[in-house]
Amino acid sequence: MELTRLPFLKSALKSRYPQLAVFIVMLVGYVFAILAGLIGTPVGSHNFSIVFVWIAWWAILILVAVPFFGRGWCAVCPIPLPGEWLQRGAVLNPPDKKPKWLNLRWPKALRNIWLQNISFLLLALFSSVLLTMPNITAIVLAAMLFAAIGLSTICERRSFCRYLCPVGGFIGLYSQTAPIELRIKDKQVCVTCEGKPCYNGSQAGYGCPWDVFPGGLTKNTYCGLCMECIRTCPHDNIAINLRAFSADLAKPSTRIDEAFKAFIMLGSAMIYAGVLLGPWGALKDAAYNVGTSAWFIYATIFLAIIFAILPGFFWLMISLTSRPSPIRRGVGVRAFASLATTLIPLGLMFWVAFSLSFVLTNASYIIASLSDPLGLGWNLFGTANAAWQPMLTSILAPAQMLALVGGLIWSARTAQKAANEVKVSSVPIVIYCFITTLAMLWLLL
């Protein structure tokens, strides 16, 4: 169903003002979070930086934005904005005189999500420190902002967003499960279109900042929902559609970088559930004391799980699927990658289940932090002394159960489609999903 047929929605998306308003709110919040992390109290639970990034924003991201809006966060994220405004020479419509920046093409060898895999893993390995210390969060936020600004002056379009952002890596992958999409309406229109302003820009707007040709979009993975193409298309040929969940997974991607992203997300959800939410103090010590030998062992095991154990076990299961197995039939890597798309809904649900736990436990900090964001003794809205109180604890276990079992069912169905493409049985893959789901259930429940 085409959502942009609703005139209210269409004009809201085409006009730059509603989007700008949201951008300003997000940018102010982001910059304030950096400030709070640097000058506010070092106690994480009472600092805006930790509370609003790792509790509030994370909760909205993983529980609402990604499952229901795919790359919806990218649509409002403030990180690319200062750099992009510099690059474009304007905040609203393109100026008459465009500034001359380097606008280099992103190097071909790096046109994949490996850098994003690495940047996510870097954050993950240091997560115990990142999630608890406001100054560290502030430094990371500032680093991303400055990296984005710097890259905008050197490379074209939103290179940070497309190739470096650790969040964008997994949002892109998981956006394939979302029930909304941005697609062209009629392919013939694009064939006869002169100049392709959706990609190259025009007076009405800029060429796709995500380096995507909208006319060729078949999946959500790399479209950041920035709405530029809706503004530039002279034929009104671009629409936002409501569709079935995970429609993109019917044509599974065969990219190995994306496959490893799926393993990274699956593995890190399980490791976080064990280390952060488990009762094993030694694991937490190892994860937190960065630089000690315990931490190196922890980091090695972390990477081993993600790069060896999980994919290795998956590979083993695939080789049981048929005789001769796809590995021996010589389509190994691509088959592996396309079958690995099975893990996308599973990983998303693992993260939902994990996040529900610490979000419901700690959401009450949000209320207090609104009144005293820096821990200086303010009481802006009168809620500064709101006590810590876990919320909705009685629904947590059933909610996690539904999420994880739901994820299993969802992945099993995805496995069928992926297996059909490669002409193998999906049974061993379903068993793989079953075993990992059991592990996650045990860790969380």
């Binding site: 939410l277 009762p279 937190y288 810590w388 876990p390 996690q400 193998v424």
Partner: protein, 144 residues
């Protein structure tokens, strides 16, 4: 159908006579010792809680009860374990960076939600495999 049964059927309860149980728990940054407790449904639990480095708390999820201890000053928390399941207990007094992850586990009786989940997962998996095996589409192992 099977799913609904697994999800909602009451658990078979093995009636075990409730006992009095006493545990001494020490808290340090950022773990409890012992960090895993196991009791039967209906037991009366007395926790002797003492911190060994800074002020810590112990809050039991699901039971919504807590106790706080300064180092060297043991405090007692008593309650009846009348809800079955697996409950995390966590520190509710800010005690340093990793405070939000200072967690232990209290297991009362059977972990019903966990067993229900396993049941549902098994049903889902078997259902899926069964559908694949018995559907007319060529997805059988032996076909290739």
């Amino acid at each position: 159908m099977a799913g609904l049964v697994v999800a909602f059927a009451p658990f078979p309860v093995h009636p075990i006579t409730p006992q009095e149980r006493a545990f001494r728990i020490e808290a340090r940054q950022f773990a409890y010792s012992p960090s895993e407790l196991k009791v039967n449904l209906g037991d009366t639990i007395t926790l002797e809680f003492v911190s060994t480095d800074v002020v810590h708390g112990l809050y039991v999820d699901g039971y919504d009860i807590s106790v706080e201890s300064d180092p060297g000053q043991t405090k007692t928390l008593s309650f009846v374990a009348d809800k079955p399941g697996s409950f995390r207990f966590r520190c509710n007094v800010t005690c340093g960076a990793m405070h939000p992850f200072m967690i232990g586990n209290l297991s009362v009786g059977q972990n019903e939600w966990f067993y229900r989940s396993i049941g549902l997962a098994i049903i889902a998996t078997l259902g899926n495999i069964g559908y694949l095996m018995f559907s007319p589409r060529p997805t059988l192992i032996t076909d290739y």
